[in-house]
Structure formats: structure tokens, C-alpha cells
């Protein structure tokens, strides 16, 4: 399942259930989303195809580092959250 918040929610909707290929990674899932929703590709990736700096990610409600953990494999049932910089309080 993918959860999206704030500006990304406006593009993707709050929740999407996606079916994963065997041994799919976080990057694979983001690429699937980008392919399915061009506005998300525009918002989340730069021209070279790299994830933009301000994109934040959580897997199962724990923050992951987009520069290190994009190759992390996902399991069936994992929850990926994608959102812009925090602005609470």
C-alpha cells in the first residue's frame, strides 16, 4: 500500500494498493507510480530521473533515507508513505 500526504496526496490520492513484482524495491514502486501518474513523476523526480531532494519517505511508519535505502526490497503488506517536507506546529 502507498500512502501520500499533502501535495503528493493531491496528485496520487490518499491511499493506493499496488501489486508488487517479486523482490521489488522502494525505487521500483516509485517508478511504477511515476509511470502510472505523470504529474507524480514531474513532482518527485528531476530531469535526470533522480528523486528530488524534498521528497520524504517512510516504510511501515519509519523514515528511510532516500539517498541510501531506495534499493530496499519491499514485502507484500509493506506500507510506503511519500510526502513533502514537514510543517507541523
Amino acid at each position: 500500500m502507498v500512502l501520500a500526504f499533502a501535495s503528493f496526496r493531491e496528485i496520487l490520492g490518499k491511499e493506493r494498493v499496488l501489486h508488487l513484482k517479486e523482490s521489488a524495491t522502494v525505487k521500483d514502486l516509485l517508478d511504477d507510480l511515476a509511470a502510472a501518474r505523470p504529474p507524480f513523476k514531474e513532482a518527485a523526480f528531476d530531469d535526470t530521473g533522480a528523486l528530488r531532494d524534498y521528497v520524504l519517505l517512510m516504510v511501515n511508519r519509519k523514515r528511510i533515507d532516500p539517498t541510501l535505502d531506495l534499493s530496499r526490497p519491499l514485502q507484500e503488506g509493506d506500507e510506503l508513505a511519500v510526502f513533502p517536507p514537514l510543517a507541523g506546529g
Binding site: 500526504f5 496526496r9 493531491e10 508513505a81 514537514l86 510543517a87 507541523g88
Partner: protein, 134 residues
Amino acid sequence: MIQITETEISLDEMIKRARSKDAGAMVTFLGTVRDDGMERMEVEAFREAALMELEAIQEEAMSRFHLIAAEVVHRTGTLAVGENILAIVCSAAHREEAFSGCRYIIEELKKRAPVWKKELGEKCERWVGQTSSP
């Protein structure tokens, strides 16, 4: 007590819960909707993750600053100018600890709690804290 709520924050209730015969000081922080030329604000949270994060921050503040109580309530939904977005109440034996604990919670909340704000004006809307698109 940690809460994320769609309804108005009752500071009174929070202060009542934080009051203690062992407390000599209570420090309260209220974040309010400032008029930056907009009409209203929408506050959105990743509720489950934000509650977990706020609970962790509360525990850290309690033990680092020897707080007697720490209350945090974050509002979500549509808010008017002047309304409370967030309330934090910290009680401690002495004022140094109550100030430091309250300050710690707001600074960590801003860094760590998955919450977003959107300013809505007559003609434009803007997600707070995002300099570039989206």
C-alpha cells in the same frame, strides 16, 4: 496525553491534567494561525505515524527535563485565522525545566512529526515550508 484532533483544542483541560501539587511551574505553547494574507489553513497529519512520533518526543522531554506532565494536542482540518493549531503544556517543579521541556517538544515536533499545513487565500493556495514544487 497526546492527541491529534479535528475538534477545537481545550487548553483548560490540558492544564487541568498537567496541574500537580509537585509542580511550581507550567509552561504552555500555543501555535496559532497567523494572517499571512490568507483566509484559512488546512492541517493534515499522517495520524498513526504522528502519534507515535509525538509519544516518543513526549517521553524524551519528560525524562530529559524531569517533567511532571507533558500534554500535546495537534489540531487537523480547516482552521480560521487566530485559531489554535497546536497546544503543548509542560509542568515541572521549577521553571527552567518547564520552559526547556516545552521548547524541546515544539522544536522536535516541527522536525519529526508528519504534519503539513496549507494556506488558502481567495485566489491562491500554498503548502507551508515548500519553496519549490510540488
